[in-house]
Symmetry: C2
Subunit: 200 residues, 2 copies
């Protein structure tokens, strides 16, 4: 059975939880608290030297890291991954956009504002991430004002990857009120079979 | 025929050039100069609203962005992508590691030091990217001291993605002298059939 190490409050970990539930994959969820320092302990670094969650154990001793690689593995061959070569590449395009242009700005701002005890000390960091974060939301809004899902005509891993931190973007100081298409898309993702919320 | 828009001096674009040559894919390379502002012009933004290269045109009007999604598309079904599901996921893991933990530190430092006229004004930025850049190189060295290639027993897209900015890391102020395993791996990549250098 797949073991998934994760902190559900982390959008990257929540992606894994969503895919496990949407595809009905039997698994054991092992809570790891990032803020308590769990990912920096020697026993965790032994299985992931990069010191990050999420992480899955596929079989004893065989681990996989990086949220988007994990959901790619879990959903391989499922309806969440298009069979068509071009659509599959477009899905990956949005997943790399998420990790490069979205997550470092929106998720990191949320971390400073929502989790750190002293967000004031991070004012410069927050300021630096504001414009690129808004740019990423603009790219998403532009896309979603023309299509219901990022790729093809149904939900794929691209939507799941981008949903994770977008639906809590307000916790990073990014108000979604002006983004009508993004808000409608969030409701479409929430209505999917197997959907589970970030917080129980 | 595939049209590839890119700036060969950019590691992200160079990945695409490498895969096109290693797989012998017929293509037209369209030079785009980032420093001259080519990627911010309206005609380019019309095809890629995110304003970045590399970009490929697969057929008229059908474009694909994000370097690692592009090479994933080009190499789909080739020996550069493992057929095995787990190996393919591990390849993706290293490609996401590259875009999240390596490129923003090593490539960005190279940009400041090697291309900007005033790197002095970027001293804080360079300082901030130093420790995570060294950490990324440490993760690579750790892996490559045990295996010849990142995934499986031969070159995959994981190696190509990581090679692009690693082999010019010194231009970002990251001396590779202490990284014996990385330096040996660089020579293995250079010896591959179809290899072309970044600079002609």
């Amino acid at each position: 059975m797949i073991k998934a190490y994760g902190d559900r409050e982390s959008g990257n970990c929540y992606k894994v939880l969503l895919v496990l539930h949407m595809l009905g994959i039997e698994h054991r969820w092992i809570p790891v608290e990032i803020l308590a320092g769990d990912t920096r302990r020697p026993e965790f670094l032994a299985i992931n030297p990069n010191g990050r969650v999420p992480l899955i154990e596929i079989q004893p001793g065989v681990h996989l890291a990086e949220s988007n690689a994990i959901i790619g593995y879990l959903a391989d061959g499922s309806p969440l991954v298009p069979a068509d070569r071009l659509l599959r590449a477009q899905m990956l395009q949005w997943m790399f956009f998420e990790q490069y242009s979205h997550e470092p700005n929106i998720a990191t701002s949320r971390y400073y504002l929502h989790y750190l005890k002293d967000p004031v000390g991070k004012r410069d960091e927050l300021e630096r991430r504001r414009a690129p974060g808004l740019h990423a939301l603009g790219v998403m809004e532009n896309r979603l004002s023309r299509v219901p899902y990022f790729v093809g005509d149904r939900l794929t891993l691209a939507d799941i990857a981008l949903f994770a931190y977008t639906h809590v973007a307000d916790e990073g100081g990014f108000d979604l009120e002006p983004y009508r298409a993004i808000r409608d898309w969030i409701e479409r993702v929430r209505a999917q079979p197997g959907f589970v919320p970030m917080r129980v």
